[in-house]
Subunit: 404 residues, 2 copies
């Protein structure tokens, strides 16, 4: 089988961890697999390179930033190859130009367009373990691009798709996807598997890893992802097409504290008002999360923004008060967003009811509700988020158990 | 005019120095020149990367070492381009693969075979200042090679040769080539110019900068080098074809303390003895410097080796005592080598006489003498090297003045 393994910055942060990862890589190789490895830059390397750039030019051009940042992954890749060689196996590191990871031209946030297979195939045929730099591509000018933060996951999925890998392992500092953050909810349990859609809702709702774009690409090309620990042998979580078993289950729960609510009341009852509000915000780079505007409350709109965008949001709305036409503006940043994700949510109305019941039973006030096919989001007071998370989790643990 | 400027590790060691170099580069550009810049890795970057490699694999393969080390120059190049952009000029950094600096395959010590001109020409035509990574190439497998330590000078000369540059400026932490080390000889003076041949003798005799191979390449392609300071506007030293003015002058004086003498006495008087000795040493990677064997002293050979090779030299000779056939072996490491270089030395026998006179007048004993077309080398006691250097320098200062 062909396996793609991806090791993030924490997993290659120092010599010991690189050697540890090298052991896992050679384990997979010794088991008879061909192995392609994708690595990120070491730990805080990217940040320290950005600091170096800031010192010479606080407004450094993005082409040169990419030229600079891409060295981080190249160093990791070379070091990983050396560590594997030390264990007595053949390994070769390749950067994006050597592989032929062709990207769009947008420096700093390019997208992979095509991955050439010739060089990697050649190295695999020679029996080499191939180490590829994550996070980077080459555009049509032969210039180095980067794919945006966290995009080493995307590199790994792209390689897995092109080479038809049996699995793309995302090796990281957690050992799988949990039903909730185990630091908050002691009863949180690790999922054996989760569907692409549900996973996408979790990442869109605040879960950092694996990277959103990588999951989207995995879904599109049917790449089976396995999120697992770089440091332990604990079984990870599979991300793949929804299976029957999980159809009716609640998959997970994510808390996002970086949220503020904005309420605009007494809006003029004319077409295009909502568009007017959000297009003005979009022009300032502010995107709204949850948006609530019902027929019943037609004259009011509530929505969430990131905390850092709150002040600017206020400025934009104040400056356009006449043009938009509204009465009052209210904001609240003492909130947190709780997202419950699961494949069977839309077809199982009991889930939403159970959620609200759990919060009510525990005296947690709901400030805003938003639902979709596979998720329910509520805003609660930020001081009650721990209680709310535990209550909801316990509730659905029961549900899950009763289904089993 | 097209100018190539090369900045070494000390000259790009931190943000301040990069900004300083950027000012010099844009000065040259503003004066109406097209400018190609070659940069080394920052300060101790290469050493710290080697340390990282050693941590994961003390015997890391050279291909991967080159992959790792080449990131140092890429970082410098990107940072330099950013610093130039901050001053309001267009700059673009290019690595060896992007330029097309084609090298032999020997990782760690490759040689430049060819430099493609297309990309750099294109960038120059667009009005860009072009920053190129020194010290590296790409071999026929598309793999990154390095050209050996100090080889950024060679990259600069190669680019100057290919693009027919009017000058290749080696910008460094000294402001030119001196008649002797100014730290030892207070009266040392900076040369306005020196011929390629004389310069090669100086570098072969222990002078570190500019790099020996770079001077050889400059000579071969007739590239005019200017060694100057990265930090001051002091006029530097031109290295070019010998001019009439300097034909009869002593150009400089170099001290090399890394020298030990080996004397083998009572050698069998048969053909091939010298070959026998030196081929056995060469097989162990030991090369002899000065070698003395005259018809008069036919049964004895004296030669110098690097101090670190002395023990091994003794072992090899002892082990082959029967085979070589000699009586006694004596070594002395309390010596230093003084080299006087000048274009007119061979045709001006007075130079050697003046040298010996100066040493005699100052009570410095000569342990060994070797001469060539353009140099005279003597071994003296290492404790007397300061006195000897000053004596010789003062002597030739007089000569030089009397010629002026």
């Amino acid at each position: 089988m062909l396996i793609v393994q991806k090791y993030g910055g924490t997993s290659v942060a120092n010599a010991e961890r690189i050697n540890n990862a090298a052991c896992r890589i050679t384990d997979a190789y010794r088991a008879g697999n061909r192995v392609i490895v994708v690595v990120s830059a070491q730990g805080s390397m990217t940040d320290s390179l950005l600091e170096k750039a800031r010192e010479v030019n606080p407004e450094a051009g993005k082409r040169e930033l990419d030229m600079l940042l891409s060295t981080g992954e190249q160093q990791s890749a070379a070091l990983m190859a050396m560590a594997i060689q030390r264990l007595g196996y053949s390994a070769v590191s390749l950067n994006a130009a050597q592989v032929g990871i062709e990207s769009t031209s947008l420096y700093g946030n390019a997208q992979i367009k095509n991955v050439k297979t010739k060089r990697i195939s050649h190295e695999l045929e020679r029996g080499n373990i191939v180490i590829v730099t994550g996070f980077q591509g080459v555009n049509r000018f032969d210039d180095i691009t980067t794919l945006g933060r966290g995009a080493s996951d995307t590199t790994a999925v792209a390689l897995a798709a092109v080479f038809g890998a049996g699995v793309c392992e995302i090796c990281t500092d957690v050992d799988g996807i949990y039903t909730a953050d185990p630091r908050i909810v002691t009863t949180a349990r690790k999922l054996k598997e989760i569907g692409y859609e549900a996973m996408l809702e979790l990442t869109a709702s605040g879960l950092q890893k694996p990277h959103n774009r990588a999951v989207e690409m995995a879904k599109r090309f049917g790449v089976r992802l396995l999120v697992r620990s770089s440091f332990s042998d604990a079984p990870g979580t599979w991300i793949k097409e929804d299976s029957d078993v999980e159809q009716l289950s609640v998959s997970g729960l994510v808390v996002d504290r970086d949220v503020a609510r904005v309420s605009v009341t007494g809006l003029a009852d004319k077409p295009g008002t909502a568009f007017n509000v959000f297009s003005k915000l979009a022009r300032e780079g502010i995107s709204a999360g949850m948006i609530l505007q019902s027929a019943v409350f037609g004259e009011d709109i509530s929505f969430t923004v990131r905390k850092r965008d709150l002040a600017k949001t206020g400025e934009v709305l104040e400056a356009n008060k006449e043009n938009i036409g509204y009465d009052k503006l209210a904001t609240d940043e003492n909130l947190a967003k709780l997202t419950v994700v699961g494949a069977g949510m839309a077809s199982n109305s009991g889930v939403a009811a159970a959620l609200f019941e759990a919060l009510y039973d525990n005296g947690v006030n709901i400030h805003m509700i938003s639902t979709s096919e596979i998720k329910i989001q509520v805003l609660v007071d930020h001081r009650e988020v721990g209680k709310a998370t535990k209550a909801v989790h316990d509730k659905f643990e029961l549900l899950l158990e009763s289904e089993a």
